[in-house]
């Protein structure tokens, strides 16, 4: 008789974590490979193409970087809130509101000289995104509302607000009735550095800034302590409400910057696809990196490869988009699933002893009990 139990494991060692993650990635490749085989392609070739599609040429590499930038910056923003255990699910909305703030100046003040206009746009984006996150922060500080729900709901408000602008007051009159907002003037578009818009520089600067902020400043220390335990924070004399407000403002502000970068450099206008799910994907990135800024660079890069490679194989192999999505999802599933094995282990009991009475069998209904 074999009994299977799930037991909470001690904190895994570094080597064990690496081993589990490697196994997860191999498992992901094998399972996905089987799927690719099933739809009639050679998995090895497809994998090679994904890599090629992401790094194969200067153009593709640039595309990959462009995809990584919003993911990385949004993840940095989310991580600030997550450090405080403030579950900010609202980066998507904060990105949109950031884009809105930037677009306001891009559209209404396009005469302002370029560097100044771009700075104003950044400030406006950070402000709008920050304020958008401050609302749930304030509600939580004041009445202890659940931030996951409030931030999530505010995503939809932000989205509909952009749609409203697109179809209503900001509709481009010269677009022959097509519901779109006018393209930005050249003054409002981020310049390129090494062929990629300078968002990547902003991203790398932010990685350093956030890393230093969290680990070496007083405010960062307060955020981490508060995240560990509100009571400890109060006991140490911290102003708990102020910490919530600061962290949410910062978290949303950084997400807002993503909106500015995407609107200015990628879509050159404001539309509802500006965030494109980056705010949600970034949650996974922040979490997989263990909220550590340097790791986010790597993880965001991998996600960008997945997306870019995924879209490349669509054209290269005529694989429908849904199949490409399945491949991405399978890989994600395995990697995220491996987290479970870092916290729990499965124990097989090969017991040679016969169990006492029939009564005892009752208790074996729940085989896998976490403890």
């Amino acid at each position: 008789m074999v009994r299977v139990r799930v037991v909470k494991a001690k904190e895994s060692s570094r080597n064990k974590k690496l081993l589990i993650q490697s196994i997860a990635i191999i498992a992901a490749l094998v399972i996905t490979g089987a799927f690719i085989l099933a739809i009639g392609h050679n998995p090895i070739n497809v994998y090679a193409s994904m890599i090629e599609g992401s790094f194969g040429s200067t153009y593709r590499l640039r595309e990959t970087i462009i995809k990584a930038v919003p993911l990385l910056i949004a993840a940095l923003g989310i991580a600030v809130a997550f450090r405080m255990k403030f579950w900010n699910i609202g980066a998507e909305g904060q990105i949109l509101m950031g884009a809105f703030g930037a677009s306001f100046f891009a559209l209404k003040f396009s005469e302002v000289p370029r560097p100044l206009l771009l700075l104003i746009m950044m400030a406006a984006a950070a402000m709008c995104g920050g304020l958008w996150a401050l609302v749930p922060g304030y509600l939580k500080a004041k009445w202890g509302t659940n931030e996951s729900i409030v931030t999530l709901m505010m995503n939809y408000i932000a989205l509909k607000w952009i749609v409203y602008l697109q179809y209503g007051p900001w509709k481009d009159k010269s677009a022959q009735g097509f519901p779109k907002i006018a393209n930005f003037a050249d003054n409002a578009i981020l310049p390129k550095v090494f062929g990629v818009h300078m968002g990547w520089i902003i991203a790398l600067v932010l990685v350093v800034v956030i890393h230093v902020f969290i680990n070496y400043t007083k405010k960062g220390y307060e955020i981490v302590v508060f995240g560990e335990s509100e009571n400890t924070a109060r006991y140490a004399g911290m102003d708990v409400k102020k910490i919530i407000l600061l962290a949410t403002l910062l978290s949303g502000g950084i997400a807002g910057l993503v909106g500015m970068i995407q609107a200015s450099a990628v879509s050159n206008t404001l539309n509802m696809q500006v965030a494109g799910g980056a705010g949600y994907t970034a949650i996974i990135i922040a979490w997989l990196s263990g909220l550590s800024a340097p790791w986010m660079v790597i993880v965001a890069g991998l996600f960008a490869v997945l997306t870019q490679g995924g879209s490349y194989i669509q054209t290269a192999y005529q694989i429908p988009q849904s199949a490409a999505d399945i491949i991405q999802a399978l890989i994600l599933f395995c990697v995220l699933g491996s987290q479970f094995f870092m916290q729990y282990k499965i124990v097989f009991d090969f017991s040679s002893v016969k169990t006492g009475t029939a009564k005892i069998e009752m208790g074996q209904g729940g085989e896998a009990r976490g403890n």
Binding site: K218, T232, D239, G356, G363
Partner: protein, 517 residues
């Protein structure tokens, strides 16, 4: 004799990761026997009984219940076998009534007959001299009532092997006596009772046999009549110890912190402290005795500036500091230290190392935007050395240290702040004997230095020996403040149960001859 053996554990071994919690432990409990499991914290007592109650399963070794070998896969299987465990932290649903708690999870058919259940419960209560109000909600019960309910719950499920985990930790002396009566009845009815404890007095008065565990191994099983507390302590600790607590005489006592008529509400808007007034003196340990939940937690937090006062004033050296936050109090140049009851949830940050935990009380005194950890490394090393904290290093997360070492880090940090007032709440709870006495020494040392110490404790013997004065709280009110030299344990117990000092002194003659003194 074999038939009368209810529980037999043979060569039980259990490891958690690399920690050996139990190693080849044997235990035999007979019918009608009260068996104490004695040992310091971390000796493996809880692990052992958790295997008996089906929460863990042993890595090796076997469990026999009434002679049959068992292999419990879940608590349910253990309950079905007649084993009932009363946990130290009660497993009751606050919002449900006593009756609902009793029948919840007890299985049976889909529909239950209320009357039948009532009858069954009433019979049990009669048999064991228990009382319960079936329609009362758990949230409205006192700790003693909750414990009674837990006992009824396990008996209702047909348990005749009872495990009580630290049952007296939260009870007044009178409630303890009541509990002992009940346990005595169980013994008479032929139950086997296993009691986990580290209070020697209880072992000596209540139990028939005692098994001492040390570091996961069993040291010895003894008949109570053949042993004494001193022998048991030495077995527990593994060497001889000086069990005396000293009350050091100090001079130069003068008032430093005056608490004037303070009233404080708890989170539910109920008065947690009601018109409390007293004065703390320098070079003095003021003990606080109270049943759990009588307002001592709120008292500590209010004195430290963490709770809003509804009424009253806090006056430190003539200066009114009511309504000030801890940070504002600090800015006034007053050094107040506090060792809260919840060490990892309030006093320390579990995932951080010793350096970062020292930073908690220091970072705001540093200049600039950045934290400076350099200066604290030396301090951390000094703390580890001076208080003999056993840790792999100063950069090890404190959560992974043992309870005693966690407490040393916390108390050490607070002492380093050079406090005028030191508020400590259950500073030795869960600590082994060695660490406990070290903490007492540290408190005495602070007292000698002139610090005004508030000591909220649970062991009345310790309170009586260590404190200069003892303040007794009941339901958020002060029942009396007495000189520790002029009061007995029983008198304090009666005050904890709600009688004022005068009432107690007036009937002192009647109660003075209590048998348990």
């Amino acid at each position: 004799m074999r038939e009368s053996v209810m529980v037999e554990l043979k060569q039980i071994t259990k490891t958690f990761g690399t920690v050996l919690a139990n190693e080849n432990v044997d235990l035999v409990v007979q019918k009608g026997e009260i068996h104490a499991l004695l040992g310091e914290n971390g000796a493996g007592k809880s692990t052992l009984v958790n295997m008996l109650s089906g929460i863990y399963s042993p890595d090796s070794g076997s469990i026999f219940i009434r002679g049959k070998q068992m292999n419990f896969s879940s608590p349910k299987a253990s309950i079905a076998c007649g084993i009932g465990m009363v946990h130290q932290h009660f497993k009751l649903v606050d919002r449900l009534t006593a009756k609902e708690n009793i029948i919840a999870g007890s299985g049976g058919s889909l529909f239950v007959s209320g009357k039948e259940i009532d009858n069954k419960i009433m019979k049990l209560c009669e048999k064991y001299d228990l009382t319960v109000e079936l329609s009362k909600r758990v949230q409205d019960m006192s700790v003693g009532e909750k414990q009674m309910l837990e006992i009824i719950k396990v008996l209702y499920r047909g348990a005749d092997i009872l495990i009580l985990d630290e049952p007296t930790a939260v009870l007044t002396p009178q409630e303890v006596e009541r509990l002992f009566n009940i346990v005595g009845r169980m013994k008479k009815e032929g139950c086997a009772v296993i009691i986990i404890t580290h209070k020697l007095g209880e072992v000596m008065t209540l139990c028939d046999k005692v098994t001492v565990l040390r570091r996961g191994k069993n040291v010895k099983t003894l008949e109570i009549r053949n042993t004494n507390p001193k022998v048991l302590t030495e077995l527990m600790v593994g060497g001889s110890v000086d069990l005396e607590i000293q009350r050091i005489q100090t001079e130069n006592k003068h008032p430093i912190y005056e608490i004037k008529n303070i009233t404080v509400m708890n989170s539910e808007g109920v008065k947690a402290l009601d018109d409390v007034s007293f004065t703390m003196y320098t070079s003095e340990i003021l003990g606080v005795a109270a049943v759990a939940g009588s307002g001592q937690k709120e008292l500590c937090e209010a004195l430290f500036g963490l709770l809003k006062l509804k009424e009253g004033e806090l006056v430190f050296k003539g200066e009114n500091i009511s309504g000030k936050t801890p940070r504002e109090i600090y800015k006034k140049g007053i050094s107040m230290s506090s060792v809260p009851e919840d060490r990892l949830g309030m006093g320390l940050v579990g995932s951080m190392d010793i350096v970062d935990n020292l930073l908690l009380k220091e970072y705001y005194t540093q200049k600039g935007l950045f934290v400076n950890r350099k200066s604290l490394k030396a301090k951390a090393k000094e703390l580890v050395e001076r208080l003999q904290v056993s840790t792999p290093g100063i950069h090890h997360p404190v959560r992974q240290l043992s309870g005693g070492n966690i407490q040393k880090v916390l108390l050490g940090r607070e002492i380093y702040l050079d406090p005028d007032v030191l508020i400590t709440s259950y500073p030795v709870r869960g600590l082994d004997i060695g660490a406990t006495y070290q903490i007492y020494d540290l408190l005495n040392e602070q007292k000698q230095k002139g610090v005004a110490v508030l000591f909220v404790g649970e062991d009345l013997d310790v309170l009586l020996n260590l404190s200069d004065r003892i303040m007794v709280l009941c339901d958020g009110r002060i029942m009396g403040i007495v000189d520790a030299k002029d009061v007995t344990k029983e008198e304090i117990g009666m005050m904890m149960a709600g009688q004022t000092l005068e009432m107690v002194k007036n009937q002192g003659g009647i109660y003075g001859e209590s048998k348990s003194s």
